[in-house]
Symmetry: C3
Subunit: 160 residues, 3 copies
């Protein structure tokens, strides 16, 4: 188990099983020095951790937990492509889509559930650019969807 995964476990969490590739699109893709994930939902143990809109059905705290669950799935997706999360040299970008009523405007607080988690797990490699926006609805009635782009350094390059 890598250091990164040990840190995840010390937070009382666990990376989900590698997500199954879906027809036509994939959980994550590597290109050059980057891995891009598909938009990830907050599904843990086969169940959405919450459903509905922030500002109506879901509390801020539930939204933060959901954002963190999305990141766990994003990391599992990345691991399925590069094998070892230690190869991540920097988290680059995160977009946090938050299913929101027109009056809910605390998307950054929801997104902090994901950003603070990345910081705890990746330390200075966890700093990232971030956008948090409100969506009218999200797939499967999810309250949050997260996509990540990370920079990687391949073992081969490290050995040079």
């Amino acid at each position: 188990m890598s250091r990164i995964e040990r840190r995840v476990e010390r937070l009382g969490l666990q990376l989900p099983a590698t997500p199954k590739p879906v027809a036509a699109y994939v959980p994550a893709i590597k290109t050059g020095d980057y891995v891009h994930t598909s938009g990830q939902l907050p599904i843990l143990n086969g169940k959405m951790v919450a459903t509905g809109l922030l500002g109506r059905d879901v509390t801020l705290e539930q939204g933060q937990e959901a954002a963190r669950a999305c990141v766990l799935n994003a990391l599992a997706a990345i691991r399925s492509v590069i094998g070892d999360l230690e190869e991540i040299t920097q988290i680059i970008r995160m977009t946090v889509y938050v299913a929101s009523t027109p009056d809910f405007t605390d998307q950054p607080e929801v997104a902090n559930g994901a950003s603070l988690f990345l910081e705890k797990v990746f330390r200075d490699k966890g700093s990232h650019a971030r956008s948090a926006v409100g969506c009218s609805s999200l797939p499967r009635n999810s309250p949050v969807e997260v996509e990540l782009t990370v920079e990687i350094l391949e073992r081969g390059e490290l050995d040079k």
Copy 2:
């Protein structure tokens, strides 16, 4: 005509004319080994194939057709930059924005209209990371907007 365009035609479809560059922004841009498209609308023969929100005005099937029409325009935009779609080595990312009522949560099914089309046309080069999200509304009352990032290998590099 390239193999890629022949496959499009065998599906009974056709790439639209190269979109006209709009002042200030462009249909697609090349940087390094990538081409990024602007958000594309489902306009074919000068007409939006459907208008309105999923969950109110537009059926799932119409949404899927619209998503596919957006991809046709995205490919035309990419062709206008690189000349030949055969130079695409991999479809990397697709974001599918779906104009949705708060109760419509089948964005992935809408997006499949685009993903399955890419798979048919690009085969294994068509696998991509994907996000599908619900928007309160989209430009020109469009039900779907799609942006694509593709990886390319320039002829020059192939010749080396």
Copy 3:
């Protein structure tokens, strides 16, 4: 002061102070030949230039001004990372999130406030791929949020 900043000033505008890094995420990040910004809000002199939804609370003209203010903050964020905006070789991508009622569909006109500004300041280096979409709401009740990706050429490379 760089040529780019002089052009901004000739438009009667000014780059804001470098945004303070926020815990866990950063205003902008450099990776390879690119700088990606976080989603920027239209805050000038510590105040949001407008709040609310397009189609209900905010006029098209106010939305365009807000979009331009977002870009000013994005450029300040980029400057904080690369030091000199002259190093930008091309504006690559811009996503313009517009807080919209379901009936507001003029997101491209709002986004033009940002695109035309980039064109005036960066000339041919200002052409970019762009997506403009409607959001149910945005952080801090902002009417617009903008994220930018730019291509840079480092001094070192220029000297070679």
